[in-house]
């Protein structure tokens, strides 16, 4: 197997299925791959574009530190995280997370854990552009509750 990056931030639209294909290739001893795709919602026309800002070198390092901790905690074989930045249209993928483990419980829990982090605590700044202008979005109470499940 060639070495692939574990974490990418990208300003271009990406295709989650192609990432899953690459991630699943050559896995004779894996057993379980869980994955998650977060898609931008149109919110029935209320959100025409989502804009995500990252701090390159800081954001990816913070995600990597967290993900390596998750890898050890859940005994993952490996993981793949791709996060979109910049302007994202409804229906486009915002985030892809895949986790590989010997058994499905670990794969599912690690994927869920990484997503809770990425959605609530990862260093991104998010702006929603809609018909009534633009607004910066803060984490929701739901996001905080989800992330606290792991503390």
């Amino acid at each position: 197997m060639t070495t692939l990056p574990s974490i990418s931030l990208t300003a271009r639209a990406f295709e989650p299925g192609a990432l899953l294909t690459t991630f699943c290739a050559g896995r004779d001893e894996t057993g379980a791959v869980a994955s998650f795709v977060g898609l931008a919602r149109a919110e029935r026309g209320q959100a025409t574009t989502l804009e995500l800002e990252a701090y390159p070198g800081f954001t990816d390092a913070a995600i990597a530190a967290f993900a390596e901790e998750a890898k050890a905690r859940f005994d993952l074989q490996d993981y793949r995280i791709v996060h979109r930045i910049g302007r994202i249209a409804p229906g486009e993928a915002i985030v892809f997370v895949a986790t590989a483990a010997g058994h499905r419980r670990a794969a599912f829990e690690a994927c869920d854990f990484l997503m809770d982090y990425l959605k609530s605590r990862a260093p991104f700044w998010k702006k929603q552009h809609g018909p009534d202008g633009e607004r910066w979005i803060e984490p929701t109470a739901r996001d905080r509750t989800d992330a606290e499940r792991w503390d």
Partner: protein, 79 residues
Amino acid sequence: MARVLLFGRLADQAGWRDRTVEAGSIADLRRALADGDAALGEALAGPGVQVAVDKAIVRGEAVLAAGTEVAFLPPMSGG
């Protein structure tokens, strides 16, 4: 000379996101920025705003060598 980066609503408020400022410490830098834009100075000291020096979060004071990168980070929203 520090390279100052602003993110999220701080950049929107300031009208810039990347600027070089003459300052020997974070306190110096905060004064220099507030002198040019009092509202920005207040926002940078606001609740939840963190400071990163060369991409590491710093709480409190830090000396700034030439070329140091200082980033002001408003509360992070997650992706």
